[in-house]
Amino acid sequence: MSEFFTVSVLTATVASGIRLTTPFLLAALGETMGQRSGVLNLGVEGVMLLGAFGAYFTVLQTGSLWLGILVGIVVGMAMGLVTAVVSVTLKAEQGISGIGFYLFGLGMSDLLFQKLVGTPRPISSLPLLEIPLLGDIPMLGRMLFRHNLLVYAAFALVPILALVLARTTYGTKVRAVGENPAAADSLGVSVARVRYSTVILGNLLAGLAGAALAIELGIFQQNLTSGQGFIAIALVYFGAWRPVGVMAGSLLYGMVAATVLSWKSLGIIPRSASDLAAMAPAVITVIALVVVARRFRQPAELAKPYERGA
């Protein structure tokens, strides 16, 4: 136990926790936007998988990481458009259509991988960007300011989205459409247009999250995300539909996961119990949900399609 509390191990654990947090923070922030406008997107996991494969395949073919990230984003947006058509225009039951998108992403990414790549080949990873001055702070510098650009981008999105939701006209429209679409509609806000925008943005971030994951790991394989998209959805509830809360939940999850990994490699957790310890993040989130769920209310119109005059 004592060797965990050395400077180098602690810094490495926190840094790896932040890295692990990034993909589901991105996905969870996207899901937050959708849910605030009243759309539940359960297909995040599938979109992440497609984004991850798109990015991985592009990097493999072109060698350009930026092009890979761009493809991840575009794949996410395309899936977002389809999701919006199904959820908003066709008014499908979102709890199920999301499972459909998940299965589609799961199968399609695997199918394309087997057909186009076959055997897994590693791709290079994004360079670490050390922020000048801040990166030189002892301990904190290594923990917080030596990461790749996507990590910074994910965390920078937190205050940005919080401000957008709280202070801009667009954010007000998003919240209005999620709480009382009929009232928003009567004031001339296009419910459908707002929901399309949030769903496309949400899926864009899910695609980016997949790309971030594939590039971080430098590999693609069947079911690469292994449930991270579903965890991201849970974190939205955990964070009570607020970007800062979502970040807190994501960090809790990431840090617990990183600590478990670190304790495993240090032998603090015996090998035989390592699978049991891997449950910790999920169990902690469930318990937290029970506590949180009683205090916060979800967007009133979550997962309910809007019908004028209904």
Partner: protein, 391 residues
Amino acid sequence: MTGLRRRGRRRDLAGSLAPASAAAAALVIGAVMLWALGADPVEAYVALFGAAFGSVDGLAATAIKAVPLVLVGVGITIAFRANVLNIGGEGQIVIGALTATVTALALPDLPGLLLIPLVLLAGAAGGGLCGAVPGALKAYFNVNEILSTIMLNIVAVQIMNYLLRGPLLDTGQISGLSRVPQTERLSRQADLPILIGGTRLHAGVLVAVMAAVLVYVLLWRTTVGFRLRAVGLSREAARYAGMPVRRTITLALTLSGALSGLAGAVLVFGSESHRMVTDGSATGFTGAAGFNGIVAALFGALHPLWTILSSFVFGGLLVGGNAVQRAVQVPSALIVALNGMVVVFVVSTEFVRRRTRLRPESPEGALDTGLPPEPGGGAEPLSPRTQGGDG
């Protein structure tokens, strides 16, 4: 009452056309995907249907694949009818399989006549518990069931990996080098009996059909079933009518979980190796039956008996997927992607929306259950006559 019954039948008949048209659409989508991947769709489909339905062995394999889909699917139907979603099928299957496995390991000498019902019950109990937790959390603590079932899926996989790599690991494996995470071969007494000699068709098929019939009777011929459906159509109205809404919601997810758990037990004791094996993921053990069961239930128009038929078709797709891979070199992951598209397609159509959404859109739909058409507005207590007649 007879008038109401007849109307109900007509609606079920209309419902039976939906799976057929959705299946046709699925085949067209699949053909386009095959064509896009540079494969001959006709050749692929001939291989698919030949493998799945063209021989006795194929039919037996299809039926075996259909069993977990039927069990999960009718469970999903119960949940849906009570207007709760159960996305936790994967976890419930895994936990049910584990409790059944532990039971068989604990009672190696029990004769099959006792052991088989016991392990099936153990599986149902494990899965039921795994459904009762999110059910109670939803009913009493307002925790979203989609969320809690998803999280329990993750927890269940870790429990499985821990048990199969540790306490339940085959003792023969510990000395060997390979250490495949699996249990020892379970008691032969617990093997599900083979129904037709020479094939693998086992008694799990009978379990699935019986379960589907029982769920049908439960939902449409008992008071409990009436409550489940009433709560599904309008919680407010059901509460106003004095029904125990919270207990009913918990029950819906418990039953749904129990049926998935039963599927887990059948997967273990009907498997060729007669042991529980993991590759570290839930899908590795379940074959994604927890999700595909949702597809089967939707295709079965959320009706237990139609779910048997749709599960058989989907079982055939799963069996045929491997044949497609051999015949036209398109990976069988195609079937998973296709299932996903079909789900999206089905829920996007008017039909399922009307059945799964809270508000019945036509007064005729509401008449079926004797509930007022608009929950929320102007809800009136159910007349005792309607309640008695249906229950």
